[in-house]
């Protein structure tokens, strides 16, 4: 938190709620069989239904409904057994029908919550389904103003969205960013949204007001639109906190209005005030009957839910004792996380597996631009390597140094690779116990110190032995022999 915001929040408490629109990654649109894809040649994915031609009827996409239910359950919402669609009416060239099919007073789901990694909780007010609008290209200008005309691409018109609305539970810009990051992960884990913010798969509107610290009554809020990256969520909120605090400090009143975040200028500007607020004249969509969701269906989808990020974090830290950084990486990086999960099934040493996956494995794959399941180093093979280390057949350091890149590329097994490269340590006790005894005899004073309980002397003897065996003997084995000689 920057110092200006810190100073302001001593006096005022920001009250923030977010509305996130997330695109569902179905094959086809919400109400017609047109392809749902980002990009594509302009207007290639359109049909009479999504162009809003007369005489056509929308039919709801089953998968879109299933995905929206799945997202609702992952966000701990109650899925309403009955909900309906409504028409939200306004005129804009990206909306061919002159209305958007959305859900108004009977949303698909309500009353959920998200647990954030910082320990806070954000309640979800509602989740509903709606169709997206098309895209406009403003000729000769970056923005609407100043362009002579606009070009309309309706490929996105009618693609399925869920709108997820929080309660005004958020208090800081950081918490808002954390919430959107967590929401994104949850939707990705559920496989219902690709979470690609650059392509607009998730878009965020921020409602924000300030109230004097210690008071209950909400201040007048502004709604900020066009906040479409993690960074701009934080920046836009901080800008708006400063703007509203300045107005309040001067004894003024914040105007209830919709503002637009200007990424390039780093500020928000007035889009429309309450007086000009759109009157959407919602009414029930006559072309679609109500949605009925049976408790069996909800039950089935509930059972399909994957392990969610918060639960995964808990397992990583409590069961596997991974540190925060390790568990963060495995939760954020889905592929690395599932590779780790596979490896862990074959090992009883999660810390060691984590160190290998995040260390030499991650480094090699990054350098080669390969993905985790694309090399010869399958989770099974990695577990063989770790077993060789555990058994003292090869040392951890020489495995990290000398088995790479061969374990990723070679057809030889890990043990064959160790053989070929001469990495195998001496593990036969009888082969070296004579030598260790000779060293002990060579340093009688040091040995009697060791015998009398000076444990530090042990590393002296291990060091001597390692020198003699040129690092090929396992320290564990030398220790074992020394212990025997001490008690002899």
């Amino acid at each position: 938190m920057n110092s200006v915001i810190e100073e302001i929040t001593k006096k005022y408490e920001p009250v923030i709620g977010l509305e996130v629109h997330a695109q569902l990654k179905t094959n086809t649109k919400l109400f017609c069989s047109c392809k749902n894809e980002f990009g594509g040649e302009p207007n290639a994915n359109t049909c009479p239904i999504c162009l809003g031609l007369p005489g056509v009827l929308p039919v709801l996409n089953k998968t879109a409904l299933d995905y929206a239910i799945k997202a609702s359950l992952a966000l701990n919402c109650t899925v309403n057994p009955k909900s309906k669609f409504d028409r939200k009416q306004y005129f804009y060239p990206d909306l061919p029908k002159g209305y958007q099919i959305s859900q108004y007073d009977q949303p698909l789901a309500s009353n959920g919550f998200v647990d954030l990694p910082d320990g806070s909780k954000v309640r979800i007010n509602r989740l509903h389904m709606e169709e997206d609008a098309g895209k406009l290209v403003h000729a000769g200008a970056e923005r609407l103003h100043g362009s002579a005309y606009s070009l309309v691409d309706l490929n996105r018109a009618g693609t399925p969205l869920t709108e997820i609305v929080t309660e005004p539970d958020i208090r800081t810009a950081e918490q808002a960013r954390l919430y959107v990051q967590e929401l994104r992960l949850i939707l990705i884990y559920c496989g219902v949204c690709d979470g690609n913010l650059e392509e607009g798969s998730m878009r965020c509107d921020v409602n924000i007001s300030l109230r004097p610290q210690g008071t209950e009554k909400f201040g007048t809020r502004a709604e900020i639109k066009n906040v479409n990256s993690f960074r701009s969520i934080q920046r836009a909120i901080e800008y708006e906190i400063e703007r509203q605090a300045e107005i309040l400090d001067e004894g003024g009143e914040v105007v209830q209005e919709t503002r637009l975040w200007e990424e390039n200028r780093g500020c928000t500007i007035t889009m429309r005030t309450k007086e000009e607020a759109n009157d959407y004249r919602y009414f029930p969509e006559p072309d679609l009957l109500p949605i009925n969701i049976s408790s069996e269906k909800i039950q089935n989808i509930q059972e399909e839910l994957p392990l969610l990020p918060s639960k995964k974090r808990e397992i990583y830290s409590q069961e596997y004792k991974l540190n925060e950084e390790e568990s963060f990486i495995f939760v954020e990086d889905l592929e690395r996380g599932s590779y780790f999960d596979e490896c862990i099934k074959l090992s009883n040493n999660p810390k060691k597996v984590a160190a290998w996956v995040n260390g030499p494995v991650a480094a090699y794959l990054k350098e080669q631009r390969l993905s985790y399941f694309d090399t010869k180093l399958s989770p099974e093979r990695l577990s063989e390597v770790l077993k060789l280390i555990d058994d003292g057949i090869v040392s951890d350091s020489s495995a990290k140094k000398d088995l790479i890149p061969d374990i990723f590329t070679s057809d030889l097994s890990p043990i064959e690779l160790c053989d070929k490269k001469g990495l195998k340590q001496i593990t036969d006790e009888s082969a070296i116990s004579g030598e260790v005894e000779a060293i002990v005899n060579q340093f009688p004073d040091q040995f009697s110190e060791l015998k009398s309980g000076k444990d530090k002397m042990k590393s002296f003897f291990v060091g001597q032995a390692m020198k003699r065996f040129k690092g090929k003997a396992s320290p564990a084995l030398i220790n074992k022999i020394l212990d025997k000689l001490i008690t002899k």
């Binding site: 094959n27 290639a44 039919v59």
Partner: protein
């Protein structure tokens, strides 16, 4: 009065209808009489009746499988609708300047 002149202007504005100034009184009074007529329904006691939104209140909306439509048909259709648009540029619809 069920509707005022100001409300009429608002509604006309939302519907993008340009009503001439000298027609406002006429439309206000005509709409008012329609609304007054419909208003009679408010006299019925519906406190124990659920709203009937769709005529087939027992039915639920049908669902379709998430399968793409026939690509050849789509292509032919696209050529048709672009030909019928008042203005196009490439494969885009072209629309007049929006807003101010």
């Amino acid at each position: 009065m069920s509707i005022s002149k100001d409300e009429l202007v608002d509604v006309a504005n939302l519907a993008r209808l340009g009503l001439p100034e000298d027609s406002l009184d006429k439309y206000t009074s005509e709409l008012d009489s329609i609304l007054n007529y419909v208003q009679r329904l408010s006299g019925v006691d519906t406190s124990n009746v659920d709203p009937l939104i769709h005529s087939e209140s027992e039915d639920y909306t049908p669902l379709r499988l998430d399968e793409q439509n026939n690509l050849n048909e789509v292509q032919a259709f696209r050529d048709d609708f672009l030909d019928n648009a008042p203005q196009t540029e490439g494969h885009f619809f072209k629309v007049p300047k929006i807003g101010d």
